[in-house]
């Protein structure tokens, strides 16, 4: 099992770091922009990044700041896929360590910027307009399956084996990703909004009548 799949409900972690900034160092914004160039030109997509985050040592996952993890993941991906070599990345890093103010090369692909902005507005809708026969209907009780551990999942660990009620059956079907290993998300399928009483998830919490909603791909549910 991977701790990253089971974050919800972990106790004794202490206070939340209420940092309201998006970037806390200038390099983080630069890295984020490089990432969007990769997204906008189909070098990678969210599932690739999530696979890397979920494959991390869980202690490192808690230890490192968000964009430090991204930096490690982006470099590993680009080297593994052959976009850059480890040697050239290391040499270039050393060069900028020696001279942090050295200018960037005054060259680039002038088409990329507009492609990235277009991508921000186009998005990447997982909706697929295909005919489906949803297995469950609104108001029905469902049990969340305990799927076998995999490289990448969209099933939160704390909801496994729990029983909830279908609140919404979304229209049509959605495709998560067919380019990374998942626990059954490589085919378009219905998605459901399921409602839980939080006391049905954790019996030891105060009875506050709170509820929790989560969206599930159909493969994660069975009739209860």
């Amino acid at each position: 099992m991977k701790v990253q799949h089971f974050l919800g409900g972990i106790e004794n972690l202490g206070p939340v770091n209420v940092e309201k900034r998006v970037f806390v160092e200038p390099w983080e914004a630069q890295l984020f922009a490089v990432h969007t160039a990769m997204m906008g030109t189909n070098i990678w997509a969210w599932p690739d990044l999530r696979v890397l985050a979920e494959g991390m040592n869980p202690l490192d996952y808690f230890k490192y700041r968000y964009y430090i993890k991204w930096l490690g993941g982006i470099c590993k991906f680009l080297i593994d896929k052959g976009y850059i070599s480890e040697k050239e990345l290391q040499e270039r890093t050393e060069a900028f360590l020696k001279d942090p103010d050295a200018p960037l090369p005054a060259t680039g692909n002038p088409e990329i910027t507009q492609r990235v902005v277009d991508y921000f507005y186009r998005g990447a809708n997982p909706y697929r307009d295909i005919v489906v026969n949803p297995m469950f209907k609104a108001g029905q009780k469902v049990r969340v399956k305990d799927m076998p551990p995999v490289v990448h999942t969209r099933l939160p660990g704390y909801l496994r084996n729990k029983i909830g009620v279908v609140d919404v059956v979304y229209k049509g079907a959605y495709l998560y990703a067919d380019n990374v290993p998942t626990d059954g998300l490589a085919t378009p399928q219905p998605v459901y909004l399921v409602k839980f009483d939080t006391r049905d998830i954790w019996s030891d919490i105060p009875d506050s009548k709170d509820v929790l909603y989560n969206d599930f791909w159909e493969v994660y549910l069975e009739a209860a």
Binding site: V34, Y66, G108, V116, F120, R122, G123, P126, Y158, I201
Partner: protein, 208 residues
Amino acid sequence: MTKENHGDHEHHNHLRESETYYAARTKALESLFREKGLIGIDTVDRVIRFFEHDMGPFNGAKVVAKAWSDPAFKARLMADANAGIAELGLKDGIEGENLRVVENTATVHNVVCCTLCSCWPWPLLGLPPYWFKDPVFRARIVREPRAVLLDFGVTLPKEKKIEIWDSSAQVRYFVIPERPAGTENWSEEQLAKLVSTEAMQGLDLVKA
């Protein structure tokens, strides 16, 4: 290994975990991307400006102010959020292809999270701040939302019911906070200025 080499090794590891190192490595990435034609000279600046001026929490605040001022608009927005924001001339897009708006009331308080990663409604709020991505926030908000709200300086009345939205599939959630008392005659522009990013995910209350 000699003592000197060991010292170098320690120094190297320390260096590899410094902001200076991260900055140099990121600059190296952009530098290689430029040479390989994978990025434009102006891409980084344009992307940063985009999230400062085009896609940011000012969009969400505009939607909240309109929803507070126009009940018919609010009803349409809650029925179909993507169509609703289009009425205001706002574009949806990445991480907001399927938006849903929920509303805080006198009896219900909504909070949004993503326990698996950092899913967040970009077209309305721009990019997620650090707290939303903090593994501690993601671990605790689903089990002890009142204690987490206290970390944000928010105390909810005991009788208020909390509804938690964990974004694990295609939908990105957005919260209309409660309108503060004493703002009955305020313009939408004045109202929008009151609304924080945190309030639009349920981690802050709006005060006049």
